[in-house]
């Protein structure tokens, strides 16, 4: 009995040493693999993991760049201050408004243009090239143009006044909510090309026989679109939505480069969360508080991403 047990233990031990040596052997034989991925690993530890830990640590202090020795422990003070800060919530409201308009228009337009491109026979490539032009152009340049076109007395407003759609010059930059809508429109113009290309690639991967069978059954174009195209494009649409929400809630460069200050204007009408964080860190030197705002925003983004995945999964089943 005990002999059998001993033998059993022996064989387990030898198996584990064997696995151990083969693992070492495989590591040694493939050591170049570690060398090749090490630049990323090292950089991520230094510029990824370390900053993440530092960021969390900083939220418990009042800290300034100028005077780092003078940091002051404040416990969860920054967190309470962030949650109670009306400006932070105004910024959240602004960005949600901006991104709702932007994500809806950009992907809607992308879907429309992609289905039209899918239908035509000639010139599709040239048109696609054109739609992609704003994607490759810099934000500062596009916002300079957009700002000028939409300015009071600019071409768009002149045209709207001629059509009697507008009574007089409209100073949208100093209005509430309007800056966020105008920026969403300019951003739609910049980014719809990406949605178009991604959705078009999805459409080309759909089996053409599905459409042929549907045509035989007498389905019209709209029915084919809603019953075949849209359901098959679900992964692409989901991908676009997830990426748009993660990136979109962090939008702020556009506000800055269209000419607002770091507080999003006198009434904070164009303030976004990251812009507010920037103002707190670099204008007010409240580094700890700014870090807290960053983490608060990250939690909101994580929660929204989680919800999207959950909805997507339940819809799949």
């Amino acid at each position: 009995m005990s002999a059998i047990a001993a033998e059993g233990q022996n064989s387990i031990a030898s198996a584990s040493t064997k696995r151990h040596t083969t693992l070492l052997h495989r590591m040694r034989r493939n050591w170049w693999g570690y060398v090749f991925v090490s630049p990323w690993v090292i950089l991520y530890i230094v510029f990824g993991i370390y900053p993440l830990i530092l960021s969390f640590f900083l939220t418990f202090f009042n800290y300034s760049f100028v005077n780092p020795e003078n940091r002051q422990f404040v416990g969860i003070g920054n967190w309470v201050r962030g949650i109670e800060d009306p400006l932070f919530w105004k910024a959240i409201f602004n960005i949600v408004l901006n991104q709702s308009v932007f994500i809806f228009l950009k992907n809607g337009l992308g879907l429309l243009i992609a289905s039209l491109l899918f239908n035509i026979k000639f010139g599709g490539r040239l048109l696609r090239t054109i739609y992609f032009l704003p994607v490759i152009t810099s934000t500062v340049v596009l916002m300079t143009i957009g700002d000028n076109l939409a300015s009071p007395g600019g071409p768009i407003q002149k045209y709207l006044i001629d059509l009697h759609l507008l009574d007089g010059p409209f100073f949208w930059k100093s209005e509430e909510t309007w800056p966020m809508i105008v920026i969403a429109l300019i951003n739609t113009w910049k980014w719809f090309g990406i949605s178009t290309v991604i959705l078009l690639a999805g459409m080309y991967s759909i089996d053409a026989r599905l459409y042929e069978a549907a045509a035989v059954d007498g389905a019209n174009g709209w029915q084919m679109f809603t019953y075949i195209t849209l359901p098959t494009l679900k992964p692409q649409l989901f991908f676009l939505l997830v990426v748009d929400v993660i990136n979109g809630l962090q939008m702020f460069g556009e506000v800055f480069s269209i000419g607002f200050n770091v507080y999003g204007g006198i009434n904070n009408q164009a303030l976004t969360p990251v812009l507010y964080l920037y103002a707190q860190a670099f204008d007010r030197s409240n580094v700890g508080f700014a870090s807290t705002l960053g983490l608060l925003l990250a939690y909101i983004i994580a929660a929204l991403t989680f919800l999207q995945f959950k909805f997507f999964r339940t819809n799949e089943n």
Binding site: R26, M27, N30, W32, Y34, V35, F36, V37, W40, V41, L43, Y44, V46, F47, G48, Y50, P51, L54, S55, L58, F65, L112, L116, N119, I120, R128, T129, I130, F132, L133, I136, T137, S138, V140, V141, T144, I145, L149, P155, W189, I194, I198, A201, G202, A215, M224, P235, F239, I246, Q250, S257, L277, Y278, A281, V287, S291, G294, L297, A298, T305
Partner: protein, 277 residues
């Protein structure tokens, strides 16, 4: 659906909408270039009209007011060095992930993909604190070093390299070729399309970036074109508005020219990103 007749009403309507869309996309660029060759007075009175007489005072003026060559040099240096380093180091890592079966590979790769989901805003402040402590604020290193390699590019190149047959690599290993030789002689030439894609995307990203330079490059002699435009825009009086349009044209043209040469790969790069998920 794809077999619609060439001149059916739907087809005509499709082209009408698509051409209208193309017009709206191109018009702002036309507006920019058109105004860059007008006089400031003309821009003020009739911003949308064609120039009465083509003048280049915008271009000469902006070169007088601003050291455009220096801005250009800084932009090329920054975007160029990031693109070269990032393409090389991302390709190295991608090769390891695609073709070297080192233990722990899949775990590291999975972790790496997860890091892509972390919102960038979290790194903004602590990275600045870190850069401040090591004294890189005000130096190009602050922008170049963290961009030496990127997850997104590793991922894109790896997807492509996975398509290269393993036998090719195995055969070279049996012949006694080292990994470095296999990488430079066999893998790199075959992966050229993926490398081109990554290089283009990286170049575009850093050429167009204004926020990184705004944070870290605080001396005017380090400014890039984007930063130059951002600062210059506010100082130009209305009668010299053509200078702004000249500068935006100067910034935009290089990237558009590059784009037209390689647009097929460019567009594919974006489509691939979502399909490979």
């Amino acid at each position: 659906m794809r077999r619609a007749k060439a001149f059916s009403p739907t087809m005509i309507l499709s082209y009408a909408v698509l051409l209208l869309g193309a017009f709206f996309v191109i018009y702002p660029f036309f507006y920019m270039i058109n105004n860059s060759v007008k006089t400031g007075q003309e821009i003020m009175h009739s911003p949308t009209a064609l120039p009465e007489k083509i003048v280049f005072t915008g271009y000469t003026g902006v070169f007088d007011e601003l050291d455009v060559m220096l801005l250009f040099k800084n932009s090329v240096f920054l975007a160029g060095s990031i693109t070269i380093l990032n393409t090389i180091f991302s390709a190295l890592a991608a090769y390891a992930f695609a073709k070297i079966p080192f233990p722990g590979r899949d775990r590291i790769f999975g972790f790496m993909l997860l890091t892509m989901m972390i919102p960038g805003v979290l790194f903004l402040i602590p990275t600045y604190v870190l850069m401040y402590r090591i004294g890189w604020v005000g130096h190009f290193e602050a922008l170049i070093v963290p961009s030496i390699v990127s997850v997104f590019n590793i991922f894109l190149i790896r997807q492509f390299m996975s398509g290269i047959p393993d036998e090719l690599v195995e055969a070279a290993r049996i012949d006694g070729a080292g990994e470095m030789v296999i990488f430079t002689r066999i893998i790199l030439p075959l992966a050229r399309p993926a490398l081109a894609t990554v290089a283009i995307l990286t170049f575009m990203g850093s050429w167009n970036d204004f926020f990184g330079p705004l944070l870290y490059l605080n001396r005017p002699e380090q400014w890039t074109l984007q930063l130059g435009l951002l600062q210059f825009r506010g100082t130009v009086p209305g009668e010299n508005a053509q200078q702004i349009w000249a500068l935006t044209t100067i910034i935009t043209v290089p990237i558009v020219v590059v784009y037209f040469f390689i647009q097929e790969q460019f567009v594919k790069a974006f489509a691939n990103v979502s399909l490979s998920k």
